[in-house]
């Protein structure tokens, strides 16, 4: 009996037979198949009780109502709130992506303190106690040394109460430098004040309009309340309401309009004034309104007759005189025509000439405060808080002028962040020693990013209250993270462009996911820490108590209903709103020449043959809120390809520069240069190039950082001579092959 090779072969055969007769191979095959269905990264819906929480979206000034579906404590879907009058069940792509902002990786998880050089991204987590103590000590030292005016705040917060709280902080602490980011709404507001007197939010009864003429307003690209505008457009299509889009580029709005007028950028005011000339000279205006409710018509008539006949305007605008005349007649003869402006999404206020020319057209057809017209809305107001009693130190600080130069020109609260950074950068008047940045990302959103950075580098102490590691937070000295919009309670007054007074109270939909504190709570704690008059001015327990104090009885009902709208609101009759002051065709105290003077783009035509414009799209969030990954995913590859931003250019201009589709090129403006790729598009006027707003972040996460370029860094800042608002709409540029 010998054991040899055959025995082992036999053993193997036996083993094989045995295995085949056992469940092992069959079960393993089954299990492996199942295993492949269970990759750990496969998203699996959570199990639990379903619940819906209603709230208000504050990602843009749209003011939509949202219904968030939750499974247990996890929010799983955001939908439009059916009963909300602004969006009536609809929602935009950004609103849909909100959960990625809540659960995404970009969030700042708790208070952070910078450890290495600024902007190097090295942080040390600290406790809230330490964070508040350190900021309090800093603010206290500055105040004690008699320089409270050198503390500034920059806020893009949507909460009216938080806004008021920040102003109060400035009042009690002693600094005039409380800066808010203005938008197209502020420019409209100012136009009412300049032309009609008084204060009102300008809104549009688009749902009942009979004709819509838009001077570059991206009505379907995210302007005003975007979801509402999409619904309004559906209504226009149904009932045959004509939409005319005046814009140098075939935007989504232009593509969906009935008529697209391609115009030389910056000459829109000339077109509006020439239309006004035709309407007046052909007596197509609403005589009753003009006679009983307006003034200055004669002077205005002479002004446009001399300077803005269709022939003159044709040369400026590139739109031929016959088209201008036709457009003017069509506008004036339509029922309930509305003229509207505010470039793109209207996040940058723009120059006043355009707003005033637009209002002139609306007044000529008598469509102010009429159904289907432009409304001057008075929103619900907050309840008054007890007066602040500034102490001597505060009084001394408040005696200084605001660094942004906005003061007492109009009876409006105005802020000019563009001029503020210029003043800080140039060291004008006095330095800023501490800056608190709230719900905003100035290092990214303001024009001339290099100048903003220069200004910020001069500020020794920057505190960001951002929920995200955005470009400004990354450059701060401390980050005291705010909860995101789905975790906090805040009031939202009015919805951009919506004609009825609304008030909303956003609700915490889920428990805070990170170690955050509401900036309102932090302000109250800081004030308490600073003591004396500060503590007295901020006697509330927390921000919630403060909300209750400003909303009064409405606080409790709003907690349940989420919003209130006054659907029975009627705009004041023309003779009521203009009872004391009539509509003035030329704003009182301003020369017509000055009032209607367009802003020229920066740069000389010789060195820079092209004109660069920024454009807005619904697929790119371009403000404080960075683009969530889903939104970036749906960007066309004619906008962003891999990491490259595409620049839109007419094939003719591209050919002249020796460039073709997909080529790499360098774009250069007086403010900077960047690498882009060429995208040929017949829809853009020759001589113009366009880059989307919202790309080119330096901070955030792998989903956003380093993708494309930030067009704001290529465009300089131009202040409107009347309002001081940011008015740059483009800049001269040149392209060369790279």
């Amino acid at each position: 009996m010998k054991i040899d090779r055959r025995c082992f072969l036999s053993l193997a055969i036996g083993a094989g037979a045995g295995i085949a007769l056992s469940p092992l191979p069959w079960k393993l095959t089954d299990d492996l198949a199942i295993w492949t269905q269970n990759w750990q990264w496969t998203p699996v819906p959570k199990r639990g009780a379903a619940k819906t929480v209603n709230s208000v979206c504050t990602l843009c000034p749209g003011g939509c109502g949202i219904s968030v579906r939750k499974i247990d404590d996890r929010a799983v879907k955001i939908e439009g709130m059916e009963t909300h009058p602004v969006n009536r069940g609809g929602i935009c792509t950004l609103g849909l992506c909100g959960l990625q902002l809540l659960y995404g990786p970009t969030r700042v998880k708790g208070p952070l303190k910078r450890v290495a050089d600024r902007g190097k991204g090295q942080w040390m987590p600290i406790t809230w106690d330490q964070a508040i103590r350190e900021v309090t000590e800093k603010l206290s030292a500055i105040r004690k040394s008699g320089r409270p005016q050198s503390v500034a705040t920059m806020s893009g917060a949507s909460s009216a109460t938080l806004d008021a709280l920040l102003d109060r902080f400035g009042q009690a602490y002693g600094t005039p430098n409380t800066i808010r980011f203005p938008s197209v709404d502020d420019a409209y507001h100012l136009s009412v004040s300049l032309m009609s007197g008084g204060k009102a939010r300008v809104a549009f009864d688009f749902e009942h309009a009979g004709y819509v003429l838009s001077f570059g307003a991206g009505l379907l690209d995210g302007w005003g309340s975007p979801v509402r505008m999409f619904k309004a457009n559906a209504l226009w299509k149904q009932s045959g309401v004509k939409l005319v889009q005046v814009e140098p580029r075939l935007s989504r709005t232009a593509a969906k309009a009935d008529t697209w007028i391609s115009i030389v950028p910056g000459s829109e005011t000339a077109l509006a004034l020439a239309m006004a000339h035709v309407i007046i000279s052909e007596s197509l205006y609403q005589a009753e309104f003009v006679e009983s409710c307006s003034e200055g018509m004669e002077g205005f008539k002479e002004f446009v007759a001399a300077k803005y006949t269709p022939d003159i305007a044709a040369k400026m605008t590139g739109v031929d005189a016959a088209t201008i005349t036709m457009l003017a007649r069509e506008f004036a003869k339509s029922k309930r025509p509305i003229a509207v402006c505010g470039r793109g999404q209207g996040t940058i206020p723009g120059s006043m000439d355009m707003f005033m020319a637009t209002q002139v057209l609306n007044a000529l057809v008598g469509n102010l405060n009429q159904p289907g017209g432009v409304w001057f809305v008075t929103d619900q107001t907050m309840q008054e808080w007890p007066e602040v009693e500034p102490d001597a130190a505060a009084k001394a600080g408040l005696a200084y002028p605001r660094l942004d130069g906005a003061k007492g020109m109009v009876p409006l609260k105005r802020s000019l962040p563009n001029q503020f950074v210029q003043a800080v950068a140039s060291g004008k008047d006095y330095p800023i020693e501490a800056l608190l940045v709230i719900e905003s990302n100035p290092l990214y959103t303001l024009n001339d990013t290099a100048l903003v950075k220069q200004a910020f580098s001069k500020i020794p102490f920057i505190v960001s209250f951002s929920s995200f590691m955005d470009d400004t937070a990354a450059y701060a000295d401390m980050i005291l993270p705010n909860p995101v919009y789905l975790e906090r309670m805040e009031d939202v007054i009015g919805a951009s462009g919506f004609p009825y007074p609304t008030i909303g109270l956003s609700q915490p939909v889920v428990k805070p996911q990170c170690n955050t504190r509401h900036v309102g709570d932090v302000l109250i704690q800081l004030a308490k820490g600073l003591g004396d008059t500060m503590a007295r001015a901020f006697a509330w327990k927390d921000f919630s108590a403060c909300l209750e104090a400003s909303l009064g009885d409405r606080f409790k009902t709003l907690k349940k209903s989420v919003f209130q709208v006054d659907k029975s609101y009627q705009p004041p009759a023309p003779n009521e709103i203009f009872a004391s002051e009539r509509f003035s065709f030329i704003p009182r105290g301003i020369q017509a020449d000055v009032a209607f003077k367009p802003i020229a783009a920066e740069g000389d035509t010789g060195g820079y043959p092209l004109m660069l414009m920024a454009y807005d799209t619904m697929r790119l969030s371009n403000g404080y809120i960075g683009n969530p990954p889903f939104l970036t995913k749906i960007l066309e590859d004619t906008v962003l390809k891999n990491q490259d931003c595409l620049i839109e250019i007419n094939p003719k201009s591209a050919k002249a520069a020796g460039l073709d589709e997909g080529d790499r090129a360098e774009i250069q403006t007086p403010k900077g240069k960047a690498l882009v790729r060429i995208h040929l598009d017949d829809g853009i006027m020759p001589g113009i190039v366009a880059i989307p707003r919202g790309l080119g972040h330096e901070a955030y996460d792998v989903y956003l950082a380093g993708k494309g370029i930030n067009v704001n860094s290529l465009v300089g800042s131009l202040s409107d001579p009347i309002s001081g608002f940011e008015a740059a709409w483009g800049i001269r540029a040149k392209l060369s092959k790279a």
Partner: protein
Amino acid sequence: MSEHEHMEVSAAHSPRNNLKDGSGGMVFLFFLIGLAASLIVGWVIFPKLLYSQKRQPVDFNHVLHNGLVSDGCTSCHFFRDDGTFSGAPTLAQCVDCHSDVQGESDEEKRFVEEYVKKEIEVPWLSYARQPNCVFFSHAAHVKIAQMDCVTCHGATGESEHLRPYEYNRITGYSRDIWGHNIAGIKHNTWDRMKMDDCAECHQQKQSMLGSVQTQKEGCFVCHK
């Protein structure tokens, strides 16, 4: 050595002769050893290796609770207002009675101290959870088809202790799905809950082959 002799010698060493020597028995023995060993591996060791065990976080006594509640299983495993099934109870339900220690049991005391007082959800391990790729509606089976709990879950309600939770190391699924018998043999309806078991019952009930909502049959009834 003559050539003849040489041939004889080599014949003596030929394999044929070895067989005759009885090494064929050895080969067969090895075959049997291989067979037996692998059968043991396949039927006994493999199942032991494939499945791991966990203890439930709290040893729950179904019998005891069943005697105290009025609605049987649905007292704790209830349908929500929207028709979805709640599954294992959450702490909120337990707290209704157990905000403080009720009885003598050490396990209850531990439960109250470790979970109720600290407000921590009990991470119950669910024996009968179907894979994620399966859409299963309790409402369709219990409310519409009027099935009882025992048909699928066995006599869990009569247990005094919770048995260990066994799960497949590869797939992570509960052993109850494949069944405790490694050969997949079953004696009761609740012994196994693979797709064939669903199909078996649905085949018998010809009128209930498809989806309750659409009355259609096909993969998408269960695999959404």
